[in-house]
């Protein structure tokens, strides 16, 4: 019996929502297991993340990083590849931005700032080039090579920050401060230009970049020839060859875009907040990107929503750890793990049942 395609609200709405709900239920069980009330924990998180200008600013600041890394994973997904190296590419993005900022401090800011942003994207893309080339031309599995490149990036950064790039006289592994022209304005500074007063938080201009990047990815994937080629290669590389598309070429291009997006994550943390290069500044954002992309089902709109949810979790989780010392910040990592499990690896577990329920209710047989 042939089944017709299920309506969009079912496949892109109900199924992912059920998966995420199950992930949260599992996380709630963990909270209960350590003797706290999950409902109360959720309330504290939501209030901490959304209940004040201060909380909201931090939430959107975390969201910014996750939009970039989520989009990075999604673009590679559309080409049929799993770029697990967002963490390393983002680290290198920070290095790229820092190299520009520290070597060209004499440039006026209208020139320096765009160059720093470009430096971040270029370095992120460069870091994925070798894995991308090896995947496209020699068939070396990109998952393994990007894992290796994550460790290489972390090792390289430590070497540079305790050695050649370390600020003289400082004990911490960090570079010297960038000139002001190489840093992004904070949102409260920008609001002040328009006479508005908002609370000072790390939220900065890169949030706007992240939204623009999401729009760029949507246009790229669904409204350009390149995007069509990327989706074709992702769906069926053999068919792509018959359509005159070179899977190797498209794979490399898609992964370079993916690496560039991951590298841009550094604009938030390094150019926006720190104003210098520090060690381990990504703090796992590259891996959050995997959860965000899975939850957002590879669509920029879904990714922005999922990134916002993880922003709420990160900011709310910080407040929660403050209120309930037993629930440490690692609770966010647990939730993240359950989301990757249920919305990713087990995404079809409930789909059949939901389809059956839909069929019972409407009398229409569908394939989810």
């Amino acid at each position: 019996m042939s089944a017709r395609t299920a309506p969009v609200w079912l496949t892109a709405g109900v199924v992912p929502l059920v998966n995420v709900a199950v992930a949260f239920l599992a996380a709630g069980l963990v909270v209960a297991l350590i003797g706290e009330n999950p409902v109360e924990a959720l309330q504290i998180m939501l209030r901490g993340a959304l209940g004040s200008q201060y909380g909201l600013g931090y939430t959107l600041y975390y969201t910014t990083s996750f939009i970039f890394t989520g989009l990075a994973v999604a673009v590679a997904f559309h080409a049929g590849h799993f770029n697990i190296g967002g963490e390393g590419q983002a680290l290198m993005g920070g290095l790229g931005a820092a190299l520009v900022a520290l070597s060209l401090p004499f440039l006026p800011w209208p020139l320096l700032l765009p160059l720093c942003v470009l430096g971040a994207a270029a370095a992120g893309a460069a870091w994925v080039f070798i894995p991308a080339y090896l995947q496209a031309c020699r068939g070396s599995h990109i998952v393994i090579t990007t894992i290796m490149f994550n460790f290489l990036a972390a090792t390289l950064l430590v070497y540079l920050l305790v050695g050649p790039m370390k600020m003289a006289g400082s004990m911490a592994p960090e570079t010297a401060k960038f000139v002001p022209g190489a840093t992004l304005p904070l949102m409260n500074q920008m609001a002040a230009w328009f006479g508005l007063t908002i609370t000072r938080t790390p939220l900065n201009l890169s949030f706007i970049f992240a939204i623009l990047a999401a729009i760029f990815v949507w246009v790229l994937i669904w409204r350009t020839r390149l995007g069509y080629a990327i989706r074709t290669v992702g769906a069926n590389p053999d068919a792509a060859v018959y359509a005159g598309i070179s899977p190797a070429r498209i794979t490399v291009i898609a992964l370079l875009i993916s690496g560039g997006l991951a590298g841009l994550m550094a604009t938030n943390e390094i150019l926006g907040v720190q104003g210098r290069l520090i060690n381990e500044f990504t703090a796992g954002a590259g891996f959050v990107g995997i959860a965000v992309a899975l939850m957002g089902r590879g669509h920029p709109f879904g990714i922005v929503l999922a990134a916002l949810l993880f922003g709420v979790l990160y900011q709310g989780g910080a407040e929660l750890a403050f209120d309930k010392p037993k629930i440490t910040r690692e609770m966010i990592i647990v939730i993240q793990g359950f989301v990757i499990l249920f919305a990713g690896a087990l995404e079809m577990m409930f789909a059949d049942r939901i389809a059956a329920l839909y069929a019972r209710l409407t009398g229409k047989l569908v394939a989810v």
Partner: protein
């Protein structure tokens, strides 16, 4: 006796200690991937195993119960990976990432909630750990040049988990190449449809391999927390599961070369520890990060096919779907 010889003995001894967790995880990955299930969750399974061992051994001071807990915790995670990869035919990479992330979060939060030491488990007394065993005649043979010294410094004086890990290598070889289970396991990783046609259950074979991987990761984790150290500390595996994955590729998914690859990476680790701050004549200081990066660089070069070709089992990563139409 020459000082250089003594130094080499010490380096080999510490390389053995450092390569044991790699070896357990590497052999775990070998079973799983030979059956066609990609396992990038070795790290997470070892971590949850290390935590379970540390937690249980701190409550009941018996290392064997700690080991049992490690095997069960790691085995449970392996079953989750198996359920997602085999039964639900989900993405095996995504499932592995989930295992790693979950283990990292759960060990930290449960450890803090249960023991209140910032994610550590309590310091273990000697009776709750696997202690070093002095092999027979080690002291008596010590004065014998070369042979006695090697026996005393390198071969004797490890915990039982070290000897078990080494024994697992020939055992794995035997299981894979000399039993019917091993033949079927290798076949199911290359051509599951053929195994299915022969009337064997692809699902059961793959589950048995995945569970085997869980057990071995549990041993590796227990080694970290209750043999090498006296308790669990946050993020104790520190990437060892991924180095083991690299060693597996380096060994081209074969047990005996796996021993060699793990020993090589363990030796690099031992060297990196030793050369910190040491200045070499003519070269100066070698940055320790350069040595730490070597396993990753070597693996990428090997994967690129420039020094030999690492060909994974043919059906690895592909869920098997029995055609019902």
């Amino acid at each position: 006796m020459s000082e250089a010889f003594q130094l080499i003995l010490l380096a080999v001894d510490s390389a053995i200690r450092l390569s044991v967790p790699l070896l357990y995880a590497c052999l775990a990955g070998l079973y799983s991937e030979r059956s066609g299930v990609v396992d990038i969750g070795l790290e997470g399974k070892m971590l949850i195993g290390a935590f379970a061992a540390g937690a249980v051994a701190s409550l009941v001071p018996n290392p064997w119960l700690g080991l049992l807990a490690a095997v069960m915790a790691s085995g449970l995670f392996a079953l989750v990976h198996g359920f997602a990869s085999i039964s639900q035919r989900g993405n095996q990479i995504v499932s592995g990432v989930a295992i790693n992330v979950l283990a990292s979060g759960l060990t930290a939060i449960l450890g803090n909630a249960w023991f209140g030491q910032g994610g550590r488990t309590p310091q273990l007394p000697g009776s709750a750990r696997f202690n070093e065993i002095t092999l027979p005649f080690a002291e008596a043979l010590r004065p014998v040049p070369v042979v006695g010294e090697i026996y005393y410094e390198v071969i004797s004086g490890h915990s039982v988990l070290v000897y078990l890990a080494l024994a697992m290598v020939p055992l794995t070889w035997f299981l894979l190449y000399r039993t019917s289970w091993g033949l079927r396991l290798r076949a199911v990783g290359e051509n599951p449809a053929a195994v299915d046609t022969a009337g064997l259950s692809v699902t059961r074979l793959r589950y048995s391999a995945v569970i085997m991987a869980g057990i071995l990761c549990g041993f590796g984790g227990a080694y970290l927390s209750i043999a090498q150290s006296a308790g669990f500390i946050t993020d104790m595996t520190a990437g060892k599961g991924f180095i083991a994955l690299a060693a597996l590729i380096f060994a081209k998914w074969r047990p005996l070369p796996a021993l060699g690859a793990c020993f090589l990476f363990g030796l690099l680790d031992a060297v990196a520890l030793r050369i910190q701050g040491v200045s070499f004549p003519g070269i100066g200081q070698v940055p320790v990060q350069a040595i730490q990066a070597l396993p990753y660089i070597l693996t990428v070069v090997l994967l690129a096919g420039f020094i030999g070709k690492a060909t994974p089992p043919k059906a690895v990563g592909v869920p098997y779907l029995k055609d019902r139409s």
